[in-house]
Assembly symmetry: C2
Homo-oligomer: 517 residues x 2
């Protein structure tokens, strides 16, 4: 054991050892503790670390914080090991580590604490938390200062959360079996960086599916994989538009798109949506020509309108003239309830200036994190090279499993089942609203997708908050609005992940939230 | 069968059917083919699609392309079904689909082709590929015009590719077993959107590991998961800096960081690296104060120098004064060859203005796509809310499997094995270079990591190209340079994924590439 006696800020080891440490006075109490062998061992046990590591850290902190001054000679490893009742190799480890990091230097006298500049040594002074908080830069950048969202996975599972598919109806066993098979058929050579554009099998499977099921005109070489629609949008903005370019977006519309396009440096121009979809004033093509137009033509998010054919063709024609790219987000186009799915806008006209964005978050499940972009044929080859410079891809086993899931028919089978299930759930929600909801208003949407909009005279945010407190998560329509345009009021109500038998009860909960306002 | 007779651009059906189509003259030939039942059936077989789909597409294209004019009355479903020898339900499907999409309208006369504006109908005219290519906007945005990279996974597996760990030494069976276990312990309720910051188990496992092995001062609440270091850097740039802010980067340095920080709108200031790491001129703190400094202090990429302790402390002190965040990229800090790993800069001083970036691409494998950011404590809570608004996370089973891989000791065991293996492979490369390499020069780096730098008098790009043609992939050092500062010449040679027994042969291949220049 090391027995320390302190005199006037100098600490001398008793007995016949020829070393001493010089300590700064106010840290003496710490240092008694610091080199007490029992204390160090207790720390090592508690933190499940080796003694050598604990010793190294204790010495390093003492040096960095100026408690052990430059020029001080450390005891020999043999002496210190004996005093601390630890293995000598452990002390050697600590000294070598300190030397490698520049805290000490070997010299003729032994191991000596290294000298730092005055500026440096003051760095180490212990700072209190309130000092840290007063750093001039202890705030996030302007461009994200409005962001503050702390939703948990559990919040997303509550009744009426929009955008959540029926998780318990997903064939998880089949999916895991295909993942397992893909992994077993793979090898360690698949573990490196993968194709930036995605695995060839998956791109091929998606192209075939899109041609048949969504009327998209494409081949696999136009497709690049992403982590989902937000990533797809970020790539589109980066690859197709420069900072300061204008993007038209739907109002009300998808907040995620707003965030991503703003972060990419674009100027957003909201375009109000009516019953036939987006309706830009004709003179805007001259007065605020867009580089990009972001739309959800199959099922406008959140209002649910379907972009009419004349508007589609007119938009394509104007975009072609203006050198604009239309970003078609087909997030839930598979789920049409009054007939087979509508064809995608991308395929309605040959060589349309349309970029098609697809996601497996709704058709499979959100945690999968796979989406894709179908680039226009005229640009596809060039884009592949750009994506190679911007994106790092991996996850070959999952991508191949998804390709098999599509190719072997599980995907269309699952979609068919979900289309039926969502129709049942929508009907249950409509019926429950008609029976229990006391406020005059409209139910919008419902031809397709996974949500309805319940229009309200006002106070949608207050109602959504009250509902949340009662355990359900409809979202206020005004949240989907874009600053500078008159707001909408209502609730966006997802029904896909809420069981039809519980729909009436959940609507009654909403009614009681309304009555409690 | 439908027998068609054409007269003057009008197509009349023979016999007693009371309908007719009006066709634009020049597309007559197409339309004979279009509604020939045998032809449609052949198409259906060939494309493996239902007849109803083929019929729908044929009619849709004819309408969109103006070959079938507004006001034309389609045959009754009964008649057309008989003529095409297909089921009547199939014709009804096609008509309903066309009606839903706005191509036709039901009327008293039957199903009538809808009217479009003149502008719209001209859209449908068939365009040739060269017309498409002449679109004014058929080019990518300015900001990505320099990007063009078409590397395949196979390229990355060649000898000497930097940044590639020893894939065949990865314990894939163990990993897959843990993934399988995590999936089986999970449920469909895990398939929704997950915590934006990552799974709690994994963040906890990482925090514990970092404290012990890397000397990072952190707890789990400071950690957010990402897809890898490029994603981490993009988040840091977005969250900590605004457009136009200055970032100091190492020269030569990591090209991926350059790309990401530029895309985030930052102004880059290259800082030349010497044997002790980054060395910014003192007056730059006034003349070009940075918002961010991106560095690789444990093992400078690519030169391999270790940032000295005085420079670390000085940098921290100056950054604190200037309100600068230091981004510490610890990409391969685990693999130190002349002693235990050096502590991370983040932990050297309490409350340092350092953001620590870690990745599992080297310590596990690149295709995993998992990395993380350790945010400064003073900012952590605020950042969690911002990340919640910017990031969508999933993949809970993989994240939990990684947590188990760390917690159950597989991770440190694998790192220990790789440290030994990489030391052997580095020694083999050094020996082979000393024996076979004919050009006077230096070997830089090697205290840590997975690559060496072989300095060259000139022509590194030409040599790297010649080497690539012979099947090996060392990378030219000049590629790591930043415009505006004098270049470096040499080869960055990864050794981690090249077997020690093949090292001499691969170096001889490099020699022959040099001799063939």
């Amino acid at each position: 054991m090391l027995n320390a006696v302190t005199i006037d800020g100098l600490w001398h080891h008793e007995k016949n050892h020829n070393y001493h440490f010089k300590w700064i006075h106010d840290s003496m109490a710490d240092l008694h503790l610091l080199l007490d062998g029992r204390r160090l061992k207790a720390q090592a046990r508690e933190r499940r670390q080796a003694m050598q590591r604990i010793l190294y850290e204790a010495l390093r902190d003492a040096i960095a914080q100026g408690r052990l001054q430059a020029g001080a000679v450390l005891p020999s490893s043999r002496d210190l090991a004996r005093d601390l009742a630890m293995a000598r190799n452990g002390v050697i480890y600590a000294y070598e580590q300190l030397a490698a990091e520049g805290y000490v230097q070997p010299s003729r006298q032994g191991t000596v604490v290294a000298a730092f500049s005055a500026a440096s040594s003051s760095v180490g002074q212990t700072r209190r938390r309130d000092q840290a908080a007063s750093w001039p830069n202890a705030e996030v950048a302007q461009r994200v200062r409005h962001c503050n969202r702390r939703r948990t996975p559990e919040d997303d599972l509550r009744a009426f959360m929009p955008g959540m598919p029926a998780l318990d109806a997903f064939p998880l066993r089949t999916w895991l079996r295909l993942c397992d098979r893909a992994a077993r058929q793979g090898s360690t050579q698949d573990l490196g960086y993968r194709y930036a554009v995605g695995e060839p099998e998956l791109r091929q499977a998606i192209a075939t599916y899109l041609r048949v099921a969504r009327g998209v005109r494409c081949h696999a070489d136009q497709i690049t994989m992403t982590d989902g629609t937000q990533h797809s949008l970020a790539l589109c903005a980066q690859i197709l538009a420069d900072v300061g370019d204008t993007a038209w977006i739907e109002h009300p519309g998808y907040g995620g798109a707003r965030t991503v396009l703003t972060q990419a440096g674009l100027t957003l121009q909201p375009v109000t949506v009516d019953a036939e979809g987006i309706a830009p004033p004709e003179d805007w093509w001259q007065s605020r020509p867009p580089r990009l137009i972001y739309i959800t033509p199959s099922h406008q998010y959140p209002l649910g309108s379907v972009l009419s054919l004349p508007r589609r063709l007119h938009l394509i024609e104007q975009a072609r003239r203006a050198g604009t790219w239309i970003l078609e987000d087909d997030y839930d186009g598979e789920f049409r309830h009054d007939g087979p799915p509508l064809a995608a806008m991308q395929g309605q006209v040959a060589d349309a200036p349309v970029v098609y964005l697809g996601t497996f978050s709704k058709s499979m499940f959100p945690a999968l994190r796979l989406g894709f972009v179908v680039w226009p044929e005229a640009l596809a080859d060039r884009v592949m090279g750009v994506v190679g410079g911007l994106v790092l891809q991996g996850r070959p086993f999952e991508q191949r499993a998804l390709a098999a899931f599509i190719d072997e028919g599980h995907f269309t089978r699952h979609l068919r089942r979900m289309r039926k299930l969502y129709a049942i759930r929508q009907a249950a929600l409509r019926e429950a609203l008609q029976r229990h909801w006391p406020v005059p208003g409209q139910i919008l949407g419902g031809q397709a997708g996974m949500h309805l909009v319940l229009s309200l005279p006002a106070a949608d945010t207050a109602l959504a908050q009250a509902a949340y407190q009662r355990g359900i998560s409809p979202r206020p329509l005004s949240l989907y609005g874009t600053g500078g345009v008159a707001g909408f009021n209502g609730l966006v109500m997802g029904y896909a992940n809420t069981h039809e038998d519980r729909m009436a009860k959940q609507v009654q909960t909403l009614v009681s939230a309304w009555q409690g306002l």
